[in-house]
């Protein structure tokens, strides 16, 4: 493990906050494998485990942005490898629609990213986290940061 692998952020002051939804069977296992393999990566993300990427409700993504996330990753099994047969195909359609919605709300659709990471792809998990963190640093803070001050702005139903 070389220290040069680590994200050098000294010149940057902005540290993006990223939520990474991982499916239990592929990408969460891939994230664990990255750990087992001691692959180093930036600390900016927090993983939320879901059984399937298709469990990730559009509402969850919007909630994350409304609470100040700078980026949201949804990670699932590769096409045709979904533990639940075809959940990831639904995820793919939902994320595509959501990106259009985000754009309409004035958010850069690149702030939401879908990636396939299998249980044997610790390195791909690492690369995804590194790349997305860099990308979010380039985009800068989300315009919705701090927009959540109004306590009445709860999302419907909660």
């Amino acid at each position: 493990m070389t220290t040069s692998e680590m994200a050098t952020t000294s010149s940057e002051t902005f540290e993006p906050k990223i939520i990474a939804f991982c499916c239990n069977w592929c990408s969460y296992a891939g994230a664990d494998l990255a750990g087992v393999s001691r692959l180093q990566m930036p600390t900016n993300f927090l993983v939320i485990r879901a059984m399937c990427s298709a469990r990730v409700d559009p509402e969850h993504v919007l909630r994350a942005f409304s609470k100040g996330a700078d980026g949201v990753l949804v990670l699932g099994c590769h096409p045709a490898d979904c533990h639940y047969i075809g959940g990831n195909y639904r995820t793919r359609r939902r994320i595509a629609l959501l990106k259009m919605l985000l754009e309409q709300y004035g958010l850069d659709p690149d702030r939401l990213h879908l990636e396939w990471v299998s249980a044997s792809e610790g390195t791909r998990f690492q690369a995804t986290i590194k790349d997305f963190t860099e990308k979010m640093k380039e985009l800068g803070p989300s315009p919705l940061r701090g927009a959540d001050k109004d306590p009445n702005r709860e999302s419907a139903g909660y």
Binding site: M1, T3, M6, K17, I19, N24, W25, Y28, A29, A31, D32, A34, G35, V36, S37, R38, L39, Q40, M41, T43, L46, V47, I48, R49, A50, M51, C52, A54, R55, V56, D57, P58, E59, H60, R63, A64, K67, G68, A69, A80, D81, H83, Y84, I85, G86, G87, R90, R94, S118, A119, S120, Q126, S155, G157, Y158
Partner: protein, 1007 residues
């Protein structure tokens, strides 16, 4: 019920013994697990990490130990020896003696005050004498059972009638100085021996100065150096001056492949563990430069070759191929060590100085193997290990007595675990008519309905895996500040037996109704903690984990502050979710009590016969027109019988077995259903089954190189065997080329079997006609285990071995039909040219190209080399992550027939743990409909991949419709929940509110 239940005696409480006990217990048999030490765990408990995943050894072992000690069908007998075995299978009478513990087992609470007060200091066996224990002690902190015992040879009271401090100070009044041995007679149907191994005594290799030079260690000692619980807290230091070493050398084959020590065999595991130790030492110590001195790198197991490549390229480990290191001389001033060795590439004697040397000691038969063989009346082989044969790799020489693990031959952990399961299948066959039913535990569940959350948090150090990076006390303090957290503390290993007791105590003491453990991944450890809180009366779903190791400390090793902050974030998220957790209940599902085996090679047939022998129906699905698989074409002899002959006999047995139905020329087309209730659609119709064994095998690589197919004198080893079978090998000069289609860019892995098979054929040819010239061109010779003797025999018969560089394979050309082979001989340091009459290609093993289709149908993964990928490479070698589907043989990885058969028996045992149960439980995490909110729009119905949702007329209102979830079919993906527009569909355990609580907590600002 209990007195009629069939029972098995398991001797040895290492990982093999524990696994075999668990599989038998889960199949409905009573197990007496006998261990002569005060606690179970074996050598695996002493290891720091395990190859090739670098998993923390204790972390993956501990849950198994806890499970074994808790299982109602397993009677754990520690400090117990077997005295005699009378009768025969299935009516053995075994006399055992429970040696005195001098501590009342039932009264001892494991508080450790006795050991604190005890004045007698003794070198600790667990730390190979590197640390001190007391005369009253537990072998290690996570010992199972967590009960102290008195070392009678050291105790002052027992020897000199002085002291008595432990008795005076024991708060439980558990000390029993007058404890006596107690004999007991056990009735068992079968016996499994798993006494493990001992390491070679390095003092016998005087030239290395072990025991004289302080900085020369054995590899087992070095494991303790690397361990967080070891003498230096996981820091690599020199014993002589406690300084951090810069240059560390590993010397391989100490007490292996060595006639001088009498151990001619290869110990199979040392190459891999040395590379692992070198990698981990490098991780622990900045600037450390590891060098490994070896003869051949025997990286033959699953993904081992990749590990070797990473060790060299990524971790900069210098692999020094040398003849044996001749001797070591210590510099008396610096205590540095000077290694003298002859470098085979120059043939000159070289010297190099190191700060520290680790001797990779080999594996030997366990101490007491001879007395075991007498007590159980079984044969040992010429090396002193248990005698087994190729065609019954798990059977001892006595009917009804089986062996598993390193007792039969040196082997690694996954092989031992697969065999352990296999031995369970074999033993179970003797008592299949006496299967019992496990009774539910009767802990009264605490009703938490309407209670304000009272959350307990345990933050795990995981030795130094977490605490080495994350400030654990700070995370504990932070946890205490969170809303609804009643109590938080730190634990050394959250998964250890003592921590399970601690969690239960905390729940009772603080009246907790939710529990959060911040440690490793829920994928491996959630079930353990769930059963712990269940024992304390909490519903197991009132539990949540924060993954602060795999997904925090391990991936942010160089950023301790940020990692600590992130760990706090993760705990805050887990606590937020846990506030909203609700009790969940599993429903019971019926089980189809039969199995399907896909593939009719020797693995598939073995698995089928083992399952059938316990009285279950089995369907073998074979796509070709005959049983036998690859074995039908392997004509060389093992143990006096041709493999092809054995395959034929096995097929006859299968055909004669009334429990087995063979479907030839049949393809699997689709797999539906779930554990206990699969529906296999084949080209010949549908089969319902409770469990599936994947034994589809693999195929021989079809070469395109070395003029194969262009010159009739270029053949594969299998083709050579066919020629030898018909006595038609006129060639005088024969060149064999190893690693054809292995260890190259197409297939970077080692095919494991080719070295031994080539050598076996070379020996046969040479014996039939000593005038034949036979050359073997190789990169390494990987004749591991007892197969090393073949290598030696071939050498003494005059077979010539020529090592070529890894990146420079031989070149073959032809002039007419005359062959010319040119290769770079690394010993000569020059090209050699040969004109062989025949070239034999040792072709590798390749996975079937259509593995992917079957994997998709079964919803199981493939490895990067396209072999089927098991649930865990170390401790679940025949399981898939998908319940009810198991794996054996070449479909898993290249291996020999005996290894395939042992693994197939293992897969059979695992399948039996499912199909022997009267019923299974559904998942707790499934979809549920809120009837009040559902308006029957039916959007969810087509979304469900499992057809678990139906739209029915609302029984309360005939005008309305609503969705209903079939709990047996629902797999709990939550896909329908995200699709539901009205918020009526929910996923238990992953409710919207719960996920949103975690999102909100993640984005909350904290310090």
């Amino acid at each position: 019920m209990a007195d009629k239940m069939g029972a098995v005696l398991v001797v040895g409480g290492g990982i093999s013994g524990v696994q075999t006990a668990l599989d038998l217990a889960e199949s409905g048999f009573k197990v007496y697990l006998v261990e002569n030490k005060p606690s179970i765990g074996g050598v695996m408990s002493q290891l720091d990490k395990t190859f090739p995943t670098n998993d923390c050894s204790m972390c993956i072992l501990s849950p198994k130990l806890v499970e074994a000690s808790r299982h109602p069908m397993i009677t754990l007998m520690t400090l117990t020896d077997v005295l005699s075995v009378d009768g025969e299978a299935p009516n053995f009478k075994v006399k055992v003696v429970h040696n005195p513990r001098y501590v009342d087992f039932d009264k001892c609470v494991g508080c450790g005050i006795c050991a604190e007060k005890c004045p007698v200091k003794v070198p600790n066996e667990y730390d190979v004498g590197l640390m001190i224990r007391k005369a009253i002690y537990i072998p290690f902190a996570q010992a199972v059972p967590l009960k102290y015992s008195i070392d009678a040879t050291k105790c002052l009271k027992l020897n000199k009638d002085r002291c008595g401090l432990c008795e005076k100070n024991c708060p439980a009044g558990a000390i029993k100085y007058d404890d006596k041995p107690v004999e007991e007679e056990l009735d068992v149907g079968a016996i499994i021996l798993a006494p493990g191994f001992n390491v070679f005594d390095a003092k016998l290799k005087k030239e290395y100065g072990y025991g004289i030079y302080q900085n020369v260690l054995t590899s087992l000692e070095f494991e303790r150096f690397l361990s967080a619980t070891g003498p230096y807290g996981g820091h690599v230091v020199r014993p002589s001056d406690q300084q951090t070493p810069k240059k560390v050398a590993w010397i391989q084959c100490v007490g292996s492949r060595d006639e001088k020590t009498g151990n001619t065999y290869c110990s199979s595991v040392c190459c891999m563990y040395a590379m692992k130790q070198a990698i981990i030492a490098g991780e622990h110590t900045a600037g450390l430069k590891p060098t490994i001195f070896f003869m051949d790198v025997r990286a033959f197991g699953k993904e081992f070759e990749d590990y070797k490549v990473r060790a060299q390229n990524e971790y900069g480990i210098e692999m020094h191929r040398a003849a044996r290191v001749a001797n070591i001389i210590e510099d008396p001033e610096t205590k540095n060590l000077i290694l003298r060795y002859s470098d085979p590439s120059t043939n000159e004697v070289s010297e190099e100085e190191f700060d520290m040397v680790v001797l990779s000691v080999g594996l030997q038969p366990p101490v007491g193997a001879t007395s075991l063989s007498k007590i159980f009346n079984i044969d040992l082989n010429s090396y002193g290990f248990a005698g087994t044969s190729t065609y019954s790799p798990l059977s001892s020489s006595r009917d009804g007595i089986f062996v598993t693990g390193a007792f039969a031959a040196p082997k690694d952990i996954p092989t031992s675990v697969a065999e352990a399961s296999g031995a369970a299948a074999k033993a179970g066959a003797y008592i299949a008519d006496k299967r019992g039913v496990l009774e539910e535990s009767t802990v009264q569940e605490i009703d938490v309905e309407g209670q304000e959350p009272r959350i307990g948090v345990l933050v795990c150090d995981c030795g130094i895996n977490i605490a080495g990076t994350i400030d654990v006390p700070a995370v504990v303090e932070y946890s205490k500040s969170l809303k609804n957290v009643e109590y938080a503390e730190e634990g050394k290993y959250a998964c250890s037996a003592d921590c399970q007791e601690r969690i239960k105590d905390l729940i009772k003491e603080h009246n907790l109704n939710r529990f959060v453990v911040a440690s490793c991944t829920p994928r491996t450890h959630e079930p353990l903690f769930q059963s712990t809180i269940k024992e304390a009366g909490l519903n197991p779903y009132l539990f949540e984990m924060a993954n602060i190791r795999d997904q925090c400390s391990w991936i942010h090793m160089n950023e301790p502050e940020r990692a600590t902050k992130k760990a706090k974030d993760l705990v805050r998220m887990a606590v937020a979710k846990s506030r909203l957790l609700e009790p969940l209940y599993e429903s019971k599902l019926p089980v189809t009590h039969s199995a399907v085996v896909i593939g009719g090679g020797i693995s598939g047939m073995t698995a089928a016969l083992d399952i059938a022998s316990q009285g279950f129906k089995v369907d073998i699905i074979e796509r070709t027109g005959a049983l036998g698989g690859n074995a039908a074409n392997i004509h060389h002899e093992e143990d006096g019988k041709k493999i092809s002959t054995f395959a034929k006999e096995l097929a006859d047995k299968v055909n004669a077995d009334k429990n087995i139905t063979v479907h030839l020329n049949t393809e699997v087309q689709d797999v539906g259903g779930f554990v206990g209730n699969f529906k296999i659609q084949t080209s010949q119709g549908e089969i319902e089954t409770g469990s599936v064994v994947v034994a589809v095998g693999a195929e021989e690589y079809k070469p395109t190189e070395y003029l194969y197919g262009q010159n009739s004198n270029v053949v594969t080893q299998l083709e050579l065997e066919a020629k030898m079978e018909s006595g038609n090998v006129p060639a005088k000069r024969i060149a064999m080329i190893q690693c054809v289609g292995s260890r190259n860019t197409d297939a970077p892995y080692c095919s494991r079997v080719c070295c031994a098979n080539a050598i076996k054929n070379a020996i046969s040819l040479k014996k039939a006609d000593p005038s034949k010239d036979i050359y073997v061109f190789h990169k390494d010779i990987r004749t591991y285990g007892f197969r090393e003797d073949l290598y030696k025999e071939a050498g003494s018969l005059g077979v010539k071995f020529i090592r070529v560089p890894e990146d420079k394979p031989p070149v073959v050309s032809q002039d007419g039909s005359a062959l010319t082979l040119t290769a770079f001989d690394t010993i000569l340091g020059d090209d050699v040219t040969l004109h062989p009459d025949m070239i034999v290609l040792s072709t590798g093993i390749r996975p079937h190209a259509d593995n992917e289709e079957l994997a998709k149908m079964l919803k199981v993964p493939l490895s990067k080399d396209k072999y089927f990928l098991e649930a865990h490479m170390k401790l679940r070698p025949v399981d898939f992550a998908t319940n009810g589907v198991y794996l054996a043989g070449l479909a898993h990885w290249p291996k020999f027939s005996d290894e395939s058969m042992a693994q197939a028996s293992g897969a059979a045992a695992r399948a039996i743990t499912i199909i022997s149960k009267p019923e299974l439980k559904s998942e707790g995490v499934i979809a549920a409909v809120n009837d009040d909110m559902c308006d029957g729009c039916a959007i969810c119905e087509p979304v469900c991949e499992y057809k678990a949702i139906t739209i029915v007329v609302d029984p309360k209102d005939a005008e309305k419709k609503k969705a209903v979830v079939n709990e047996g079919l629902c797999k709990g993906c939550g896909c329908c929940v995200a699709a539901c527009p009205s918020g009526a569909m929910e996923q238990r355990g992953f409710k919207n509110q719960q996920i949103i609580a975690a999102i909100d907590a993640a984005l909350e600002e904290c310090d």
